[in-house]
Subunit: 392 residues, 4 copies
């Protein structure tokens, strides 16, 4: 972070993310990791009392510990320009992204939003439009794009080193929903399996969307059509908890994309293999400091985070020397780092470093929603192939 | 091998497998590994001169070094019962399996045949019938079923330890056909990519069939329907070199099956993950002495070949103590070990050890041919779902 | 962190850690990760101008951006009790730990100090005494003890599950000093290879000390004697850059301890294997979310961070669910978390949670210095066995 | 194997290796794997009745199923030259190697002998002399040298690619003797822990000797001195079951060598890391198809068996394409392959292929015995450093 130029910390507000939330705490750690942000305001729950109790526990000043996001928006906007929050992070369930995102954007606050971006594709397209009109910086926390070796993977593809991409295998097996946790009152499970809060899909929406995003981020390829076999393995669950997809990309490449929440013993085993005409790469989230490159006629090479032989994008996303592993929080922080460096440039009225523009945007979010809805549509119409829905 | 009872070595003949062949040498090593077989006769090529040159190099006696399999069959059948070959191994390209297999079986010789079993499903169904009528022992060398930890995997599923199987991911990426080797005269590539010799499929026929067989061997599940996206990535190649499939099993389980010959840098990376309602397993061919078991609420366990805690089927398939790795040839030899112990029991007129009956049969071969033809049919009809063709 | 009780953030000062420093930034990220600390004061370099430039870049308030640690001590002590720093983190080279640590401790400030604790054993023993007399909380950042699965390893040994420990293999190979970086002006290399700043040893002091600490932390065993073969592989370097040691522990256990800075291609490959009479464990820093347990008659088990089956000490040291990897910064933050929870209890006048007392102390630092000096003494006297120097 | 030139199989005799033996069966499989050997004679136990029972089970002809090796020697020597055995494999416990090896060598039979070569160094030196005088081919089955990627490792060092070797870490942990199996009548444990049969050492003799041999084979370095800490962890056992050594090589390189039979849960975890001034390598026996190369400034490369980029020595030692794993038996067979190709050249009166001379010799065996006796001497004299005993 180049704080020498802005010479102050950015002020962060948060919507959602109170007690029992998982991802809110991650956003706070990630945003503040580099010392350039102070968390000053929040509406941390949809229930005002819970929101304020969480804010007290997190040491928010009483006058900025809000009961609702509408209140936060109104009162922060009323503060002097030099004192109000610079950006808001939205970490609520999917059905509660659009309204605050649209409102804060409309009021000129920069927005960081968790994924999937909205409840449905329609909302997503509207949000793209609102964000575009507002001129704010909008970042979607597809956090896996923040890993240094995912950035390296993207670099190796775009440099042409692997030739033309011909096949992509991307997968995200988890096992945590093999038990019906939603019936035991587990909050994370409850909203993800509830169609009124999660939207049209549980498994594909929550983690299949990461697969789509990761494949797109690394390769730049657009999906042309998908054939989706979505299932609900745990009886009584109203949304999918397992999904297997065949994918055709616009370039002619093809591949497999599967995600699961009922794969016993799997933790968070996101992985991608990209095969080109001249070489291939493999990255796995559970060993994120490694990137494999494989070649038809030469030994495989193992790239490791933190080394001078990596691309600038990968080196910029690293805080520690090689061999001192970095992981999830640091990758998440890299999404914030780039987005907030762009915010800082906006505040200073200068051009951002081109490398700082490397973070997921509202358009990425709309593409993700199109992917989710297309997969659901395929699955519901006898698992036939469906063209990707229009998201622009 | 219990040679104490037969008190002689079995006599082996071979069809195909001469110079430049890869799998013929494997069959000879595998058959003879345990000291219970002598390789005494062969028709080692479709070209009589080449056949005899190969036989000389392999030290066959001149009078049993035949120019054609028809000659071998006629002259071996004419030898005294105590001197003729006991079994024949057929290791030719796919289009040349049926005729010798049917002829030797019809003449009462036991048969070991390489996979896929025949040129097409029609031949396969006929061969099942011929083998059944002949009463001989017929073994199909789906060699991956010979690995001790594949047998253990099967045991863990059949014991119910993993609960009901709900998902299977099985894959077989290779990269060797990313280059158009068939145009460079590489013999292995030439016949596999030639529809007149390989049949309806290259990739799915050669290695996708191993995926189907492995999944069936371990889980016992029958495929109900498949949706197959088969492609030819290398321009000008008349058969598929990459295939991605969605699978539904008769039990309601589902999964992904993919195989590839154009995945740069992949060697022979067959792997399977079986997810059940109570646990899961993973086995990968390139580290065949490991079998992972994973559990929803407990640490993963790593089973290793050669240990006393394994099932009898796995221990019986092992020649070395734990930690001295075994690999491809030993697994291949296990298919022979069981098949030939069954042959010995037949010769002695006794019941075989039930564990010796654990080897792939003609019916497995027919199921495999049905899988291949179903996949091709799906791919050719707009990649729609197709029910598995009838193979019984 | 239980901030509900203190209801304010702790105020942190720092000695050392300015521009070009590696570990200072780690301390700042680690201390502030959980949102309970604000970094408010610093004397960030031994050169006042550099100190102040670094402080400005890090957004310190001008009046707390000090030129020297003596100035910081004097002026912070002069602030009102409710406004001065609560603790100081000392992150200078080894020769500059003792003086500020002793002075801040003597003035009643809590101290976090990087390792090795002091320049020599004599200083270490004095510091133990000063800290003891002062009543402050003193934490030494042997950060590897902060990893959740290192805590689990300790738990598994102390629970008796592995039986009596009979052998320990602990190693720390690096390769970064294979090149004479100190002659190229690399700051990290320059002071570590300089006997006036690093002390009697480079390799054993810098990283061999982590081996000793890790083995002691996990097993509780005290070293009885060592036989050390220390070498300087890069010509002209005045201190050791490679060390191989045999170790006998007071319990009768034995083992190997080796460290290296000239092992080409190694990054930060700290690893430990502890063998007991009933089982064994292995942990490797480069895959820190895994802990292997191995058994004489049963399959190995792989424990993974974040799971409910782990001990309370391991679960308390985790911020993310299983499968979202944590790494170096989070482990470092765990040393701070426990030390600062103890500081908070001290401020509040209550007993700390017993689990919060799990952080390295001055006595651990003195033991480490005794280990370093014993190893050097052995190496200098014909590599003979030497009893561990007295450190209490 | 170039059988076209000899045009017959070699005839093999065996001393030891009957029922309950482990290594005898390995020798038979390894010798015959390539189809160029027939096992025709044996004296398979020190007890004549057991010897003959084993011979019957293994289908030896009654007239060549001998009760003692002396009888085998006498009667085979009496057979016509074109009918007697070509070589004998000696697979008895250590105390019974010298006598038959010397006698068969003296009578002009080629000899393959298991390791360690003899009961003590004195016998070893005598055997070197006898073998030299006899002119026979003598091969010692240090089988790990037969792995293709061990040969590649050797090639990479000798080519200078890694620079000058500065450090070697070689280790061989096992756990099978953690239980007092010798008291339970387990035959393998009984003789290895018996000083009258195994010699001066159990652990260092049985497996530490593999470490010494492997390090020497790969690097060519000679040990100058060792400091050995040998222990007996299991009470009542008369020989060492764990050993930790520091090593200095004549070149100035140094390192660690440790072996253990009481490391719980370890199977056969031989591994070596060789660090040079320009790069490093690592090979581990339990994943023998991999060889890691590591570099100071470039990504690590993973060499895999069976690829065209490997050296001729590695490619010659391979029977299968890349990705079809090979393992222990195939490596063992490579020692036989080279030794027997040398025997064939001797029989034919031609120069052997220089690559065929790559197998361990009697001098390697004597070096190994010197290593064992030096380690024991060091351990017995207060664990001081000892120069390597003279073995030439």
């Amino acid at each position: 972070m180049d704080t020498r130029r802005l010479e102050r910390k950015l002020r962060m507000g948060m919507v959602g993310g109170g007690a029992d939330a998982f991802i809110g705490a991650v956003h706070r750690m990630a945003a503040q990791l580099d010392g350039g942000v102070e968390f000053v305001a929040g509406a941390l729950s949809a229930t005002p009392d819970k929101a304020r109790a969480s804010g007290r526990a997190l040491l928010l000043a009483p006058d900025r510990n809000y009961g609702t996001w509408e209140e936060m928006l109104e009162r922060e906007a009323a503060r002097p320009a030099g004192d109000r929050i610079d950006f808001v992070s939205i970490v609520t369930p999917n059905d509660s992204h659009f309204a605050p995102a649209a409102a804060f954007a409309g009021a000129g606050f920069h927005v960081v939003c968790d994924k999937p971006m909205t409840f449905d594709l329609e909302e997503a397209r509207r949000l793209v439009s609102i964000v575009g009109a507002s001129g704010i910086v909008f970042a979607l926390t597809h956090n896996y794009t923040g890993y240094p070796l995912v950035k390296e993977a993207r670099h190796r593809v775009s440099s042409g080193e692997l030739g033309e991409v011909v096949k992509i295998v991307v997968e995200y097996p988890q096992g945590w929903l093999l038990a019906p946790l939603e019936r035991a009152g587990q909050k994370q499970a409850a909203w993800r399996t509830d169609p009124r809060r999660a939207g049209a899909s549980c498994c594909i929406g929550d983690i299949g969307s990461h697969c789509e995003n990761l494949a797109h981020y690394i390769t730049g390829l657009e999906i042309n059509e998908v054939c989706a076999d979505l299932r609900t393995v745990v009886p009584g669950r109203p949304l999918d908890d397992d999904g297997n997809l065949l994918v055709r990309y616009a370039s002619g490449a093809a591949g497999v994309l599967f995600a699961s929440q009922i794969s016993a013993g799997e933790e968070n085993n996101l992985g991608i293999r990209v095969y080109g005409t001249r070489g291939a790469l493999e990255w796995r989230h559970e060993e994120p400091n490694d990137l494999w490159l494989r070649w038809p006629e030469a030994p495989a090479t193992l790239l490791r985070r933190g080394n001078a032989y990596l691309s600038e994008a990968a080196r910029r996303a690293t805080r520690l020397p090689a061999g001192h592993p970095e992981a999830f929080i640091e990758a998440f922080a890299n999404v914030y780092r780039n987005a907030l460096d762009t915010v800082r440039a906006r505040i200073l009225g200068v051009e951002p470093d081109p490398l700082a523009l490397d973070f997921p945007t509202a358009l990425d979010g709309a593409r993700g929603m199109a992917f989710i809805e297309t997969a659901v549509a395929s699955a519901r119409s006898e698992r036939k192939w469906h063209p990707l829905k229009d998201y622009r």
